[in-house]
Structures are given as C-alpha cells and as structure tokens.
Symmetry: C2
Subunit: 257 residues, 2 copies
Amino acid sequence: MSEASSPTACLIVIGDEVLSGRTRDANLQTLGRRLAAQGIALREARVIADDPGVIAATVNACRAAHDLVFTSGGIGPTHDDVTAAAIAKAFGVALIRDRRAVACLAARYAPEDLTPARLKMADIPDGAEPIANPVSAAPGFSLGNVHVMAGVPRIFEAMLDDLLPRLPGGAPMLSRTVAAYLPEGALAEPLGAVQAAFDDVRIGSYPFARDGRLGAALVARATDRARLDDAVAALGAMIEALGATPLPDTDPRTRFE
Amino acid sequence: MSEASSPTACLIVIGDEVLSGRTRDANLQTLGRRLAAQGIALREARVIADDPGVIAATVNACRAAHDLVFTSGGIGPTHDDVTAAAIAKAFGVALIRDRRAVACLAARYAPEDLTPARLKMADIPDGAEPIANPVSAAPGFSLGNVHVMAGVPRIFEAMLDDLLPRLPGGAPMLSRTVAAYLPEGALAEPLGAVQAAFDDVRIGSYPFARDGRLGAALVARATDRARLDDAVAALGAMIEALGATPLPDTDPRTRFE
C-alpha cells in the first residue's frame, strides 16, 4: 500500500462510560480524520476500562507496536482519573508534580480554589512534556511516543491543535467518494476488478438506503492524487456500465447510521 | 468488584471507514448497553482495519482473553468484506458454503439475482452456526465463543436480538446517576471518600457544561440494588453538604458530547 512509509498510530480510549454505553466516543472519528490529513496511518483503536493495570499493559503493547500512541480520557481530578499514574507505571518512572502544569492551573484558579484535587491534575510522569489545554487549563502530556489527552471531545480537539504540528507526518491520505443507486450485490464483481487494477488505491464499499432505495458509497483512498483520480474515473465508468449514474457523495444520507 | 462472576466480553469493530473517520461507530454503544442489561461485562473494544491477518490475530488474542467475543463489520458481498475468511483462518477451519445461509438468501433474492457475489455471503467457517438477519437476509455466524455480525447498525442490532437470548448472562449491571452543578475539582475529595466506602459499587464522574455552568454527572454501577441505592443516597448527601442540589440525570445536556 502507498501508506507503507507513513508513521503508524493507535488510539487508546480510556473510560468505563464508553464500554457501558453511557457515552458514545467521538474522539476516534476526530483523530482518524486529522491523522489522515497529516499522513499518519491510524491502524488501531482500543477502548479499555479505568483500570491502572489494564491501562499500563495496553500502553506498553501499543507503544511497542506503533510509531505513535494517543490516549483520551482519565486525566481529571476525580478518583476514577487514573491515566497519568498508569502511564508512569507503564514507563517505570515516578509521577511528579510538574511546575509548568501547576503554572497553567494557577493562571486559571484563585489560590483558594487550587485544591489538592485540582493540583492532582499537575501530576504527570517524570520526563513528560505538557500538551496545552486552552479550554480548561489542566494539560495533557507527551512521554516518549505516547500522547495523553482529555476525553471531553472539545478539550481533546484543542489538545490536538497544540500537539499535531509537532508530530512527524507523511503524505496526506486523500479520499474521494462516488455513490450510486446500486445494491452492493450488483456491483461487487466489477468493483473487485477495479480494486485489482489499482493496488495502490484502497477502495471500500459502504451500503446505504435512501428513500427506500439501496445504494453504495465507494470510497477510494490513496496518497497519489493522479492515481486516485484514475481510480475514481474507473469507478464512474463501472457504474455507468451497470446502467446507473455516478453521484457525488455529498449527502449525509448516503451513510448508514 | 461485584461483576467478578459475570462473563467477560470484547467487541472487535472491523472497518477501515471507522479508522479513517468517515464513519462514527455506533455498535459499541449499542452492545455496551445490551450486555450490561444481561449481566455480561464488556471489558474491551478494538477497532481494526479490513486486513485478514490483523483480523485473525486480533480474534485469536481476544477469544483467549474473554468469555465472549463479538465482531461487527466486513460480512457483505464486496472485495473489502474479508471477515468470514479471516475468522476461518483464525480457527484453522475451511470456509464452506452453508446450505442454511444459502436458503436465507434464496428466500430473499430471485434466482437470477443470486449472483456469485451475493452467494459469497453464505460462505462461513466450517462448524459455524448462523445468526439470523431479518433486515437483509445474509446471516452472521457464531463459531466457538466468537459471534460475527454486520457493521450496519440496524442489522447489528437485529442480529443481537437473535443472538443474545442464547448467550449466558450474569446479574444485570444496574446504573443510577446523580448530577450537580459542581465542578469536578470541588467534589473530587468527598467523592473519593464515597467511593472508598462502597467498594462493591463503581462510581464514575463525568463533567458537563450547561448554560455556561460547570457540573458533573456521578454514575454509580452495581449488581446489588440495595447497595446501589445506598451509594446514591450517599452521593446526594455529599452534594447537599457541598451546598448544591442533587439533580436527576434525565437531561442529555448533562453529557459532554
């Protein structure tokens, strides 16, 4: 695949509330889009519980397997926020009160509101570098190839704004979509032939139903724009040969949600 | 924890489109809620690419680690639907054309529409048992402790309707929430004390912002209803002691999304 030289990445979503179904994660989608634009291949995501041993073991497995690891969740002031301590354990370093993180909190809170619980958010692993949090002050942090961020989606996004420009990238993964009112069963064979002709383009097929009609959105992804355009042209010709009309995928109803 | 005797489970979401950010997964939330009601502890979820080797390795790791494994995605008719073949590989069995699955498809499609691509959806690992799909006919399947379902959310849910009554359960995980207009930093210390007093109740704290005010939703989960009620009473007393009013968590705005 053309992404062979891109850095690879993994996201670890930390939170009982995601596994219980109380909260629907939003950070995977945000990260996937932003990494694709930066030419980083998000290969895997894991959702795990607020359990220090599980977090440490998962971080160690993922940081050995991927160039970059991102985490979301578990860095607040309450007892169920155990991520920073677990990351310190994973790396075998101490959890220390970081003076830069304390300064971020001191700039936000009056001295009488800088409680022990809030100061806990300034405890990060020894050697970690803070990630700025313009929303609610308490920073994330980077340690080695592991980047630890908040679970609240708008804070996670704000931390990405600070972090991503500092990370290495690759050729951006470009994506184009062509949709058609054709059931997948009718286009599967010629689609397989198009995929076989473009081994440097990754083509996915995603069914949808709109106004009672079945269709499919064909998503082509590649780093080479000319090859991507050629693949999209081939998909359009295929759709016309099947007696249908290629549609741009600009309508959210072409998604099965 | 009180869920020690519950079966444990893992979900594997299979799909490039989830990792790229094109599609926001919905099946984890659905499964998490339904398993909690059935007393099955969803311990982990993984999101992986449409890659047969990755799928097989992940399924083998997860089926050894958990009582139950669920997968979603990759069982359609197109070239990127590689889940069934990958599961067969993981178990070291052949992929065979299942006559029951063929019958499901034959009942839905006219003979001339029963194309090779559609018949591919009747190819399941040798020894697997079909999972009914009332939405679009092509079945999922169970093999050992691995249960393979569609990625399209309404088909995934319909397959759960067929599958879950056949699976073992445990004591349902009960959940109650109390919210308050208190920032997490103000309640973290007394909340930790309540958690320490209820080691058979798992308490999570989730911040929210509503109308410009900060608050937190405190979620208590346990299998024992009396203990859960006692914990919720303790949380209410804690909130009142902090000068705030306990609110029932019936408003979706108490979620950070």
